[in-house]
Each structure stands twice: as structure tokens, then as C-alpha cells.
């Protein structure tokens, strides 16, 4: 156990003693700052004329009207649409009553929430690390002196995988802290104590904002975890850094398109990318009929185990003739 920690410490050292790592983390901070500055400028323009309470009241009137005008459109569930609009109206009323301005954009949490999409950049960076962590040892020849130690190969591999996940965690924490600080500096800290408004069984509920943000992060990390594990596998199997980055990024950016193109087939639900967005089960629609949260979690688990099993089998059995 202690030596496993030592191994992880080693991998960590190899990640953080390289300039490229700091360039990536620096870029992440730059992106957050840039996004903050841009959104601040656009947000200011939009909010000059109206205060938010008037805006929400206006919105509610429009929505009330649409609720009465609503007609049955083929293919769209009337009840579902109604419920969605009702949810919005009730939430807006709750905001006006309890003096809770909308989170979107104009307070620190709004910015943090908007920045969740930056996790795809984090994915890119973690994929780059995952792609290099095994292949790099083969390319440089250092794999030999690494594997002649009194540690079975699977332990070495596991330490590398865990170091990658640790790096992902570091990057996510950095993203969170950076977007929190930038958001706070740009929009002020007054909104920090504000809750997130959830909606269950027709009632608006207050949810701890930090908890809500973590949930959002967790959902976004499903895709990250799967793609990173995939990149790690390619890196292990083909011992090629660029191949691992290339294939993983290609799949990451085309995966959802692929699923859309294939959505008329029923087997589309077994494709990894049809299951990586778990938010569809709370607000949205799954790609295929009959898909449930449990189903998606099962599919994800199967892919996860498969990727890791392949990495493990190849790494522990292969002749090292680098």
C-alpha cells in the first residue's frame, strides 16, 4: 500500500515536472479569465435597462399566456410541456417573493455554472496526459528501468491510471477555484450565499448551491472519465501518444453526432456516447426509447470495465522490447 502511494507520487512527479503540464493549466486559467471578461461586458449591456424583477414578471405573463394557448402538437407530450412551463413560472415567482435574482450570468454562481462547459477543455488536457503516461515511457525507453522493480506490472499500470485521475481532479479543482474567483471578482461576492432552486413534485425547493454545482460537475465528468479511460487504453495498447490523443479527441467530438446519425437504429443505445449524458434523465430526453438511468449506468460500467481490462491485459502480458 505504501509503495502504491510511492508509485502514484512518482507518476505525479513526472506529470508536474514538465513544462507542458503548466502550459495546459495556465491555458485553463486564461480561458476562464477571458470568458469572465467577455461575459461581463455582454451581461452589462443586456442588463442596463431592466431590473430582474420586472423582467421575470414580464416573462411570467408571457408564459401564462402560452399555457392557455397550448395545443396538442403531434409528437410532443402536452403534459410534459405544460409541466416545464409551470416549473418556470413557479420558480420565477419564488425568486420574486424571496428576492433571489436569477443565477444565470450575473452573479458569481452563474459564472461558475456557465464555466462547467469548460470541462471539455479539461477533458482535452487530461486526455493528453493519459495518452502520454504509458506511451511516453515506451517512446523514451524508460519503461525498461521502470518495470525491473519489485512491483508487479499491474501495480505500475494502476498507479499511472490513478495519477491520471488525480490530475483530472486537480484540473477540475483549479477550474472551479478559478471560475469562482473570477466570477466573484467580476460580479461581486454578494450572491455567494444564494441557494439553487430545485423543483420537485410541483414545489420549488432551495438546494445548497455548492452541492448543486458539484452535481453539475459530476454529470459533466462522466464523459471525461470515459474518454480519459479510453485514451489510457489506446496509449497502452498502441504505445503511441499521438494516436491516443487523436482517436480520443475525434471520438469525443464526433461521438454525439454519430449517435444522432444512428438514432433510427435501436442498437444506438448501446453506443457509449448515447449514455454519457446522464442529465437527460432529469431534464431532457434520452436518445432511444426505453433507456433509463440504470440502463445507462450499466452500459457505462461495461465500457469502463472493458477499457480497463484491455489496458491491463496488454500491459501485463506484453513483451517489452523498447
Amino acid at each position: 500500500m505504501r509503495r502504491m502511494l510511492n508509485l502514484i507520487q512518482n507518476e505525479n512527479m513526472k506529470i508536474f515536472r514538465r513544462l507542458s503540464t503548466y502550459i495546459m493549466l495556465g491555458l485553463l486559467i486564461i480561458i476562464v479569465v477571458a470568458a469572465g471578461v467577455i461575459s461581463k461586458n455582454t451581461a452589462q449591456q443586456a442588463s442596463i435597462n431592466t431590473d430582474w424583477k420586472t423582467q421575470l414578471t414580464q416573462d411570467n405573463t408571457t408564459m401564462q399566456k402560452s399555457l392557455t394557448d397550448m395545443q396538442t402538437i403531434p409528437g410532443i407530450d402536452l403534459e410534459q410541456s405544460r409541466a416545464a412551463v409551470e416549473k418556470n413560472i413557479k420558480t420565477n415567482n419564488y425568486r420574486i417573493e424571496h428576492n433571489l435574482p436569477p443565477v444565470q450570468g450575473k452573479i458569481v454562481w452563474g459564472f461558475v455554472t456557465n464555466m462547467v462547459s469548460t470541462i471539455s477543455i479539461v477533458s482535452l488536457f487530461v486526455i493528453i496526459i493519459a495518452a502520454g503516461i504509458v506511451a511516453g515511457e515506451f517512446n523514451s525507453g524508460t519503461i525498461k528501468l521502470l518495470l525491473i522493480r519489485p512491483l508487479k506490472r499491474w501495480k505500475v499500470l494502476l498507479s499511472k491510471y490513478l495519477a491520471v485521475l488525480l490530475f483530472a481532479l486537480d484540473s477540475l479543482i483549479l477550474l472551479f477555484v478559478a471560475s469562482f474567483l473570477v466570477g466573484g471578482i467580476l460580479y461581486g461576492w454578494s450572491g455567494v450565499g444564494q441557494p439553487y432552486l430545485g423543483y420537485t413534485n410541483g414545489n420549488v425547493t432551495e438546494i445548497n448551491m455548492l452541492g448543486h454545482i458539484f452535481t453539475t460537475y459530476a454529470y459533466a465528468c462522466v464523459n471525461l472519465l470515459m474518454m480519459v479511460t479510453f485514451a489510457f487504453m489506446i496509449s497502452t495498447v498502441f504505445r503511441s501518444n499521438s494516436l491516443a490523443v487523436g482517436i480520443s479527441l475525434f471520438l469525443m467530438y464526433t461521438g454525439t453526432i454519430l449517435v444522432t446519425l444512428l438514432s433510427k437504429y435501436s442498437w444506438v443505445k448501446y453506443i457509449l456516447f448515447a449514455n454519457t449524458d446522464l442529465t437527460v434523465y432529469t431534464n431532457g430526453l434520452p436518445v432511444a426509447k426505453g433507456m433509463t438511468m440504470t440502463f445507462s449506468l450499466l452500459v457505462l460500467a461495461v465500457y469502463f470495465i472493458l477499457f480497463n481490462a484491455i489496458s491491463w491485459a496488454v500491459f501485463t502480458k506484453r513483451d517489452v522490447a523498447a
Partner: protein
């Protein structure tokens, strides 16, 4: 000196594709000895060493280190083995020191003092805090040796270790290996394609060719003058006359002539007879050179005369 086998190679075979790269090799390396593993390029030295380190699998056979099987009990077998396989590639973006810390952590019981000790042992104190990418080939070899010694192994395996070392470095290196073998009873296996290097350093030499172990010889055996057949080279003033003379004396032995020298492979006990005969014939001898022949001859045959530097 004990002759306890530390490494035991038992009928090792390695087949890649249809090619038998290592074909039934068996030998042992004992505590306190330096074993030379000699063979031309492509003979299978590195492949054998990779199998010892568990880097590649064996098609057949078994390797035991300190009684533990590399195949079945890897962690116990490898824990007291140190070495270099081909070039000692290290992390170039780390300092020499961080590289050693990295390997030390993988054993779990190596102190900071021990790291400093091996650093001074290989003479890298001045540059140890510099990044490895700034090191010369010789310094990388030293660092390679340092990581091999870190955990006080009782078997050290070095694959062509003197590549890139200057003559002074090689001399020092040899002295150091000798010290480890004699004082600390470490078993050392060194591979090389150069006989001259092996002779100076090793106690026993195994010759490998095309994946087969051809012969194992004790270096002392053929330095023992009485028994041994060797190549004797005379520098004389009249080579043709000397040739006639030698051909009469040793009909079955070929001679090899040069401008002013003539060589013959004979039992060293015959040298006085030849000298006497030359004197009788009025041939003036201005030089005499003996070379332990048996091993070199074998090696020459193997390499086709090209492998000796």
C-alpha cells in the same frame, strides 16, 4: 569465495514468430564472480537479459534468482537484482537526483543517505542536481550504474555497460565491479561483444552465438600457462625461413605470416623448442608475443574475425 549460484538460467528458449532467438541456454552466475556474456551483435545477449528482468516472456525454461522464479515469483526474484539493459534511458526532464529518488521510492526502504552514497560512488556529485538532458553519454552511464546499485543488489546485470565511457571511466568502472564482487560477494553479469574487454574484467566467460551458448570458460584456465594452446607471434628477420622451420616442426599446424611476423597456434610449452630451432637456423628473433588463443579463436570463428575491437 562462495560459489553459490545467484542466477540460474535453466534451458531458456525464446521464439519470436518462427525464429528461435534463444535456443536452450543454461548457465549460472555465482556470488562473488564476474560473468562475461560474450557474443557478436545480434547473438541474443540483450534478449537473454530482458528475460532475466522479466521484460519479455520465455517460450520455455526458467530463470531463478536467489532461488525465486522470475516467472512465478517476480517481486521476490527481482528485488535484489539491479542493472542496465542496453542504454540506461532515464527521465531527461528530471534531474539526476530526482531520477534516483524515483527508483528509490519503488523499493520503499532506501534512505536519502543511501542515495547520496551511490551518487558519490559513481562520482556524480557535481552534476546530480542538473537535468539529465544536459548529461553526456558517460554521465548517463554513471547515473545508470547508480540506479542499478541503489538497492544493494546481490546480482548486477549490465548489458554492454562500457558503451560511451572513456578509457579512464572504463578502468574505474572495472575496478568498481571487481570491488563489489570481491568485497560484497555480489554476482555480476556483464555482456559485451568485445573479447578484450571481457578478458580484463571477468572470471568466467560464456560465449553466445545465434542464440546458442557455445562454451563457458574460466579466464584463469587459459591464463594458466602450462596447459594452454595459444597463438604465438614471433617478430623475425627472415619470415620465409622461419615458416619452413615451423612447418617442419609442426606439420599439422598452419602458420600466419606478416611482413616481419609469423604466428602459430601451439602449446605454450613448445616455445623454448621453437626459439632454439630459430637460433640454430640463424633466424634472429626481435620479438615474441603470446596470446591466449582458445577463447579468442572460438570467438574469431564466431564473428568471422570482425567482432574484436
Amino acid at each position: 569465495m562462495q560459489t553459490k549460484p545467484v542466477a540460474q538460467f535453466k534451458n531458456i528458449k525464446k521464439k519470436i514468430g518462427k525464429k528461435m532467438i534463444i535456443d536452450d541456454i543454461s548457465f549460472e552466475v555465482n556470488a562473488g564472480e564476474i560473468f562475461g556474456f560474450l557474443g557478436p551483435n545480434g547473438a541474443g545477449k540483450t534478449t537473454t537479459i530482458r528475460m532475466l528482468f522479466g521484460l519479455i516472456s520465455m517460450t520455455e525454461g526458467e530463470i531463478l534468482v536467489n532461488g525465486f522464479s522470475i516467472k512465478h515469483d517476480f517481486e521476490k526474484a527481482i528485488v535484489r537484482v539491479g542493472g542496465i539493459i542496453e542504454n540506461p534511458e532515464m527521465y531527461k526532464y528530471l534531474t539526476g537526483y530526482k531520477n534516483l529518488v524515483h527508483y528509490a521510492r519503488m523499493y520503499g526502504d532506501i534512505t536519502k543517505e543511501r542515495i547520496d552514497e551511490v551518487i558519490s560512488l559513481v562520482g556524480l556529485e557535481q552534476r546530480i542536481k542538473d537535468k539529465v538532458k544536459t548529461y553526456s553519454l558517460g554521465m548517463r552511464q554513471r547515473l545508470g550504474l547508480a540506479q542499478a546499485l541503489l538497492h544493494k543488489p546481490n546480482l548486477i546485470v549490465l548489458d554492454e555497460p562500457t558503451n560511451g565511457l572513456d578509457p579512464a571511466g572504463i578502468h574505474e568502472f572495472r575496478k568498481h565491479l571487481r570491488m563489489l564482487a570481491e568485497k560484497e560477494n555480489v554476482a555480476i553479469m556483464v555482456s559485451s561483444h568485445q573479447l578484450s574487454e571481457m578478458e580484463l574484467m571477468c572470471d568466467r566467460i560464456g560465449i553466445i552465438q545465434n542464440g546458442k551458448l557455445i562454451d563457458i570458460q574460466t579466464v584463469n584456465d587459459f591464463l594458466d600457462k602450462d596447459e594452454v594452446v595459444m597463438r604465438v607471434t614471433f617478430t623475425v628477420d627472415d619470415v620465409p625461413k622461419a615458416k619452413t622451420c615451423l612447418n617442419q616442426m609442426f606439420q599439422e599446424q598452419e602458420t600466419l605470416e606478416n611482413e616481419s611476423t609469423i604466428s602459430i597456434t601451439i602449446d605454450s610449452s613448445k616455445i623454448p623448442d621453437i626459439v632454439a630451432a630459430f637460433v640454430r637456423e640463424g633466424i634472429r628473433i626481435s620479438g615474441l608475443d603470446k596470446e591466449s588463443k582458445t577463447l579468442e579463436q572460438k570467438f574469431l570463428d564466431i564473428t568471422g574475425g570482425s567482432g574484436i575491437a
